[in-house]
């Protein structure tokens, strides 16, 4: 029965298939629409529509209850004159710059791990642990280490005669202290991306240059770095994008009843959260988010422009 029907289908098949192929490969286009439908509905309802909403709200005055009113560019002009916003912008920029300092550290460590003949997996796992740990938990541990009265860091510094500080309770240091945690947290991910890049460098290159008498350090700068540059570029772009969106660390490490350092250490996304969801000034919050989008787009576009100068593609 089945073989008969397959035979029949086969007999009827070729012309039908040829006809279908003329219009497109395989089954009717409706299958395509049906299969992307769940994703598309979700995307439209939860991403496209919210995006448009945020965009329009950024031009509105939105009271906590009731409909908003159009105010044109008021939110944006207010933002430009708002010292709090510029401070948050500056803090995010400083945090991003600190995280970029973590990229060379990751490159060196990735290159060292790559040299090992055994035990690579152990180091990757250890370096990766902070990535899979709750950011909230990580923040608590670091807050304890940074504690000004009995923290581990101040004790360690006292051993070498450096005076201790209230690292997260003093606005002078808070954003730097958080930046160090950010480097610590992202190192594992950067190592994995760079490790994948290192894997793709042909070992013959090292063998050939050894024969020519090049040492390890020379090989690192002449072979590893240039050939790794596309991965380094990827890591840099991703670092900037995620650093500009930092929220958790500020929320958990600085927010406490009496920490005045928070006021001067907010990041862009923290300010957005506070305006949109604590003070329920969604219009103003939306304007902050749109500006953040602009900043990220400019930063990313800038990096793509600059990559021509230093990224090596073969």
């Amino acid at each position: 029965m089945t073989s008969e029907s397959t035979a029949a289908a086969r007999a009827a098949g070729p012309p039908a298939r040829r006809r279908r192929r003329a219009g497109g490969l395989g089954p009717s286009p409706w299958w395509g629409y049906a299969m992307i439908a769940p994703a598309f509905i979700g995307l439209a309802a939860l991403y496209l529509w919210p995006f448009l909403k945020t965009f329009t709200k950024s031009f509105m005055d939105t009271p906590a209850f009731g409909p908003g009113t159009w105010t044109g560019l008021d939110n944006y002009t207010e933002l430009l004159g708002d010292g709090e916003f510029w401070q948050a912008f500056g803090n995010s920029a400083v945090y991003t710059a600190i995280l970029l300092l973590g990229v060379p550290i990751a490159i060196v460590l990735a290159a060292l791990v790559q040299q090992l003949s055994r035990g690579r997996a152990v180091y990757r796992v250890l370096y990766f642990l902070p990535v899979v740990t709750l950011p909230v938990a990580v923040s608590m541990v670091w807050r304890f280490i940074y504690n000004g009265d009995f923290g581990l860091l101040n004790w360690a510094l006292s051993l070498v005669g450096i005076p201790g500080q209230y690292w997260v309770a003093d606005a002078t240091y808070a954003i730097y202290a958080i930046g160090v945690v950010g480097i610590w947290m992202s190192l594992g991910i950067n190592l994995i991306i760079l490790g994948a890049g290192l894997q793709s460098i042909p070992p013959e290159l090292y063998e050939a240059s050894s024969l020519d008498g090049a040492g390890r350090v020379r090989q690192f700068f002449r072979i590893t770095l240039p050939l790794l540059s596309p991965s380094v570029f990827l890591v840099t772009v991703l670092t900037v994008i995620s650093a500009l969106q930092m929220f958790d660390l500020v929320f958990v490490m600085l927010r406490s009843v009496d920490n005045t350092a928070l006021d001067d250490s907010k990041t862009i996304v923290y300010l957005f959260y506070e305006k949109a969801f604590v003070q329920f000034d969604q219009g103003y919050g939306a304007a902050i988010a749109i500006v953040l989008l602009g900043v990220i787009m400019i930063a990313t576009a800038l990096q793509f422009r600059l990559q021509r100068r230093w990224v090596f593609y073969d």
Partner: protein, 287 residues
């Protein structure tokens, strides 16, 4: 004559590389110690008394190891119910994400339909927008559906991600077309081809997507804070963050809580390392 002279040289060479390897191990182990030190300190502190944790100079080993901090944590945070919420939201989000992304990824990779590139471009565009921009609209949608303070509210937005669709599309595109052709010749319909032929072949990518989604789901803080305003159905992250307000300087309790809340995902990571690493290496995406 050549043989004896070759042998020692060989041995000396391997000794030199072995010494080099030890220096490497030493350098990497120091770095690893720095990376792991906060965890060790957390573990040690969790078994100290509050008084001991705030001594200067700090003690290394707990003088009288005690599990009091864990008891305080379990007394003051509804750990089990929040754990259940975290797990339920994670499962819902992962299952939803895999289903939605695999279907759409397959369609974008393998099926032809008018508007395919435009629609895919739309997905890719959404990848570049920071997630905070969606929060207000997502919150209003969840509120209008009367889902605030529910578990689905935690999971729904994360089920739909342009990133997942993109990852699955790449996976399906790397499979040779001959498999589909063979399935079609055997009379399998598109759904059947997708389910029994193509899906099993992208299992590694599904695994990678599953572990990454689990990571984001378990660690998420901002979205749960927003959609559980009344405090029902809060996941462990929110509970833990709230603990800090209550026990600002009771560090053993905070460390015990941090340990308990992070442990499940650390265990999953240790078991499924390869999937984590593959997922990140193939996507290069950060949380």
């Amino acid at each position: 004559m050549t043989e004896p002279s070759l042998k020692p040289r060989k041995a000396a060479g391997s000794k030199a590389t072995r010494r080099g390897e030890w220096i490497l191990h030493l350098a990497l182990a120091i770095a690893a110690a720095v990376m792991v030190a906060p965890f060790a300190w957390q573990l040690l502190t969790a078994f100290k008394t509050t008084g001991e944790a705030s001594e200067t100079p700090p003690t290394f080993w707990p003088a009288e190891p005690t599990a009091d901090a864990f008891a305080t944590f379990f007394d003051s945070v509804p750990v089990w119910s929040q754990f259940t919420v975290s797990v339920s939201a994670l499962v819902l989000r992962v299952v939803g994400q895999l289903a939605v992304a695999a279907l759409a990824g397959y369609a974008f990779a393998r099926l032809r339909f008018p508007g395919r590139s435009i629609l895919f471009g739309l997905f890719i565009a959404m990848l570049m927008v920071p997630s905070q921009l969606f929060l207000i609209g997502q919150f209003e949608l969840i509120r209008d559906l009367e889902l605030l303070d529910t578990i689905p509210a935690l999971a729904i937005p994360g089920m739909f991600s342009a990133f997942g669709v993109f990852l699955m599309r790449q996976a399906f595109m790397s499979i040779p077309g001959a498999y589909e052709e063979a399935a079609r010749l055997d009379g399998a319909g598109p759904l059947r081809t997708f389910w029994s032929v193509m899906l099993p072949m992208v299992r590694p990518t599904l695994g990678a997507l599953a572990v990454l989604t689990s990571l984001y789901s378990w660690n998420d803080l901002l979205w749960p804070l927003i959609v559980s305003p009344r405090g029902d159905n809060r996941p462990l992250t929110v509970g833990l963050a709230g603990l800090q307000g209550q026990y600002g300087t009771d560090y053993p309790t905070l460390m015990a809580g941090a340990l308990v809340a992070s442990l499940p995902l650390i265990v999953i990571f240790l078991v499924l390392q390869r999937q984590f690493f593959n997922g990140i290496a193939s996507s290069g995406l950060k949380g």
